[in-house]
């Protein structure tokens, strides 16, 4: 499978091999990089791959193929425009490619070297057709470090990773740095955990290194249970070796010989690619006993998670790895001292791990030059919700939310108005328009009542009811709570009960204060961070959208017109053409009117089912 000696017996052997891969003459090689990320696969990328292969085959039958390859890659990021195809060497970026387009791309671009304008990205402002990804605003504002090779390399080929410079950081660490020097470099970088808490990575490593006892374990957390988030998934699927290399360097620094990567069971492709990557690394001696002929040994095992959100929490994850129910336990004794099987264990998020090779290669100083005073480097976000360009983005710390949403994300979909953005996953807070100039920074987001989290960004527009959003996330967290401790189980159930009441029009004066009291119990007494942060969506929406709560409770009105029963339907007499479609579809005969004359809804009979609103071809039915 790999054109390499069975196992490199020394670092010099490996370096020779890597050098030959990196200096390979690729002039004249034309390649079609095809995104095989989740979004593109869902839109038929696998079939496109076959079609390109067939096209190459028939061209080579006619003696015209030369050096042409199709390269399946991980997520390119602009999932909104999937499937995505990039043709090298010119780097022409095609979007929303469909099966019939393959022949044209192959003939015009691959063989002819010309772009197919029809399939290019059109800048919504200037109307210009853009050829290269770098010109597209979505990519231009990003700074890709962790994702730099995503969409460029074939994740199933270790040679692709090595050719792009992969495993050179490991070699550097093994040949010229002591474990302490590695930790010092990560400390200079100022890297903080990307999985939620933002704990300084070097400090965690150092505690684990100096903890008494052994064996020591390192773990990659790829559980990613946040709804709508797929940063870690795309990383594991698009560049699995970067996570492995990071863990290797960390294990060397900490003094560990055994690692685990815990991946959500719902990510079969990530599991498959990680397995492939691990076995390829083992094959050539980058994992296993005496790595590259040195005295350093380390191996990694993949474990598939049961799919519960709480299993991403460090102690629950370790319990699950041990084969026990995935429930958190108290952390008064830290896991770096007593973690997996009671041994010193260092857990980091997979994105944290993937940053390590870059820090070792380019130096902690370089890394620390990106970002804000206390938040360094970049962060990957999955930008979803009511946004024009949803997708996977990597931005430098310190960038404003406004730039992410408007420059990268292209603003709100369908010309609607922005209302809020939720950062930090289900227990993050909702940040309103007046704070759009807040910077992506651990402390700044926390001060706004939200958090960095692991990188979910959910954009909400004017049609989103913030009380309903709070209810939705409370409901999610209650369902995902393990139920072990009283405040989380009972407190969230009480919160949900109150929020359900408010969104159904049964809100009572004093409900908001009750929610705040419950929030205080939760944050003070819950066993793990799920419960302790679970009130963030409620508290932040009360903080920034109190008027919406009051409208629901005091006026029995939902300003966003989302909560059924808290607004009414009316027909706009001027827009109504009297077609009678609503009248025919109304299940309770609440609509009357002559043909070709404006219709009316009988408010007493109407059950607010919304059928007329959906059916009216002239949008004459209004929510008021």
């Amino acid at each position: 499978m790999i054109d390499a000696p069975a196992r490199f017996a020394s670092i010099a052997d490996f370096e020779g091999f890597a050098r030959s891969l990196r200096s390979q003459d690729r002039t004249g090689t034309r390649s079609v990089r095809l995104c095989m990320g989740t979004g593109c696969q869902a839109k038929g990328a696998a079939r496109l791959y076959e079609l390109f292969e067939e096209a190459i085959e028939s061209a080579s039958g006619r003696g015209r193929a030369g050096n042409i390859e199709v390269k399946p890659t991980g997520c390119h990021g602009l999932c909104q425009r999937s499937p995505i195809v990039v043709v090298e060497p010119a780097g022409i970026f095609y979007q929303q490619v469909e099966e019939p387009d393959v022949a044209e791309i192959f003939r015009e671009t691959v063989l002819g070297g010309r772009a197919v304008p029809r399939l290019l990205y059109q800048d919504p402002e200037s109307g210009r057709k853009l050829e290269a990804a770098e010109e597209i605003p979505f990519y231009k504002v990003q700074q890709r470090i962790v994702l730099s090779q995503n969409g460029r390399i074939d994740p199933t080929k270790i040679t692709d990773y090595i050719a792009a410079g992969g495993y050179s950081a490991l070699v550097k660490a093994l040949t010229s740095m002591t474990p302490e020097e590695v930790i010092a470099e990560v400390e200079v970088a100022g890297l903080r955990g990307r999985g939620g808490g933002g704990f300084p990575t070097a400090r965690k490593w150092r505690s684990c290194r100096s903890a008494a006892g052994g064996p020591k374990y390192v773990i990659g957390n790829g559980d990613e249970g946040d709804p709508g988030a797929y940063m870690d998934r795309s990383l594991m699927e698009g560049n699995p070796h970067s996570v492995i290399e990071g863990m290797l360097i960390g294990a060397y620094a900490i003094g560990s010989e055994k690692g685990y990567i815990y991946v959500r069971n719902e990510y079969p492709l990530a599991v498959k690619y990680l397995r492939t990557a691990i076995s390829q690394a083992q094959e050539i001696g980058l994992l296993g006993e005496n790595i590259l002929g040195t005295s350093f040994s380390f191996d990694i095992q993949i474990n598939r998670g049961g799919g519960a959100f709480v299993c991403g929490e460090s102690t629950a994850l370790m319990a699950s790895l041990e084969g026990r129910p995935g429930e958190p336990r108290a952390k008064y004794v830290h896991t770096v001292e007593s973690g997996l099987w009671g041994k010193p264990t260092n857990l980091n998020n997979v994105e944290t791990w993937a940053n390590i090779p870059h820090i070792i290669n380019r130096g902690g100083k370089w890394f620390a030059g990106i970002g804000t005073e206390k938040s360094k480097g970049t962060k990957v976000f999955s930008l979803v919700g009511k946004i024009a360009n949803s997708g996977l983005v990597e931005v430098p710390m310190g960038i404003t939310l406004r730039r992410i949403i408007y420059e990268i994300g292209g603003g709100i979909r369908d010309g609607k108005k922005f209302k809020a953005v939720q950062t930090g996953g289900p227990s993050g807070g909702c940040i309103p328009a007046e704070h759009l100039d807040a910077r992506v920074d651990y402390e700044e987001l926390t001060n706004l009542g939200s958090m960095m989290g692991s990188g979910g960004l959910i954009v909400m527009d004017e049609d989103t009811c913030m009380v309903n959003i709070a209810r939705y996330f409370t409901d999610f967290l209650l369902n995902e709570s393990c139920g072990k401790c009283t405040p989380c189980r009972e407190g969230l159930a009480q919160m949900r009960h109150i929020l359900q009441g408010i969104t159904k029009g049964d809100g009572q004066a004093g409900d908001v204060e009750k929610l705040q009291a419950l929030a205080e119990i939760l944050s003070g007494t819950a066993l793990c961070a799920l419960g302790a942060t679970a009130a963030n969506p409620v508290l932040s929406t009360i903080r920034y959208f109190r008027d919406e709560y009051d409208a629901h409770i005091l006026d029995r009105r939902c300003p966003a017109k989302e909560c059924r029963g808290l607004f009414i339907y009316q027909i706009d007499a001027e827009a109504c053409k009297g077609c009678g479609i609503c009248l025919k579809n109304c299940p309770v005969d609440a609509i009357t009117g002559e043909r070709k004359a404006p219709h009316v809804i009988d408010e007493q009979k109407c059950t607010r089912c919304g059928t007329c609103w959906e059916k009216c071809p002239f949008t004459a039915v209004l929510k008021v």
């Binding site: 009480q494 949900r496 009291a517 003070g524």
Partner: protein, 280 residues
């Protein structure tokens, strides 16, 4: 030995003891529900919250599992600690409003009642402290019951919510339950003992003499095994490595006697002993 200062009173405890140990040593009461000295601390009820002095800030911690590793200062009666415990108790009262035991504990804590409605289902007042689950696993060694379901749906049940095959009907779970959820029911007609609400049933051993039900057959067997094992251990040690011999002789002398005596109800056993004393 580190010193723990609780509301101004200082006690010295072994390193690794908990704040609760220290408080009990100092005679200071902290309410607990999911704690039992014979079992591991899971700190799941969150009733034993106290405030820990961290220098420039104070942290709420659970006393039952916070390990004392150096000198610490804690507050049991500070406003914040009391409020935290009250908050947890009020949520529990909402869950299990009919539990007399819970009400008594609440009263002792000075909690008058709860403002929260009942929104979660609880099986016969079960507060999910988990003592039954832990005693069955850690002391009895059976793991016949465990937790099922997540979040508000969490319950204690035998696997697949079916009567357990592993249950020996010992009733240890009922003994540790702080709110009386678990009951040991004797079905005389079927000669069975039931551990309710888990529906597990075990045959009862009947007195050889009078036919009265004595105890679960499985408990009897486990008792015999444990006692027999314990008796042969010292013999093993003095039999110069001849383990087989040692055990055999233990079986030969102690077991039949023990077995016989266990198969009598206490009344008939007394009668038998009395008879023996009277006519040796």
């Amino acid at each position: 030995m580190p010193t723990v200062t609780i509301d101004g009173h200082s006690v010295e405890v072994e390193r690794g003891a908990t704040v609760l140990d220290a408080a009990r040593y100092a005679g200071i009461w902290i309410p607990t529900l999911c704690y039992h000295p014979a079992l591991s601390s899971e700190a799941s009820c969150r009733l034993c919250m106290v405030e820990l002095d961290r220098g420039d800030w104070r942290q709420l911690v659970t006393a039952c599992n916070y390990p004392v590793r150096h000198d610490v200062i804690v507050y049991v009666m500070s406003e914040r600690a009391q409020q935290a415990r009250r908050g947890v108790m009020e949520l529990l009262l909402a869950r299990s409003p009919d539990s007399q035991e819970l009400k008594e504990l609440a009263e002792r804590m000075g909690v008058k009642g709860t403002l929260w409605p009942k929104v979660t289902e609880s099986q016969r007042n079960c507060i999910l402290c988990g003592l039954c689950v832990r005693v069955c696993e850690q002391i009895i060694g059976k793991s016949a019951i465990g937790f099922a379901g997540r979040g508000a749906d969490r319950t204690v049940a035998a696997p697949f919510r079916q009567p357990s095959e592993d249950c020996i009907g010992c009733g240890a779970c009922a003994a540790v339950c702080p709110v009386g959820t678990i009951e040991v029911r004797v079905h005389k007609d079927e000669c069975e003992v039931e551990i309710s609400p888990f529906k597990s049933r075990v045959k009862l051993l009947v007195c050889k003499q009078c036919g009265a039900p004595i105890l679960s057959t499985q408990v009897c067997e486990q008792a015999l095994r444990n006692v027999g094992w314990a008796t042969c251990l010292p013999m093993q040690a003095c039999s110069q490595g001849n383990v087989g011999m040692g055990r055999k002789s233990a079986h030969a002398t102690f077991w039949p006697e023990l077995r016989k005596r266990l198969r009598l109800c206490p009344k008939c056993r007394r009668l038998q002993t009395a008879g023996r004393v009277a006519s040796p």
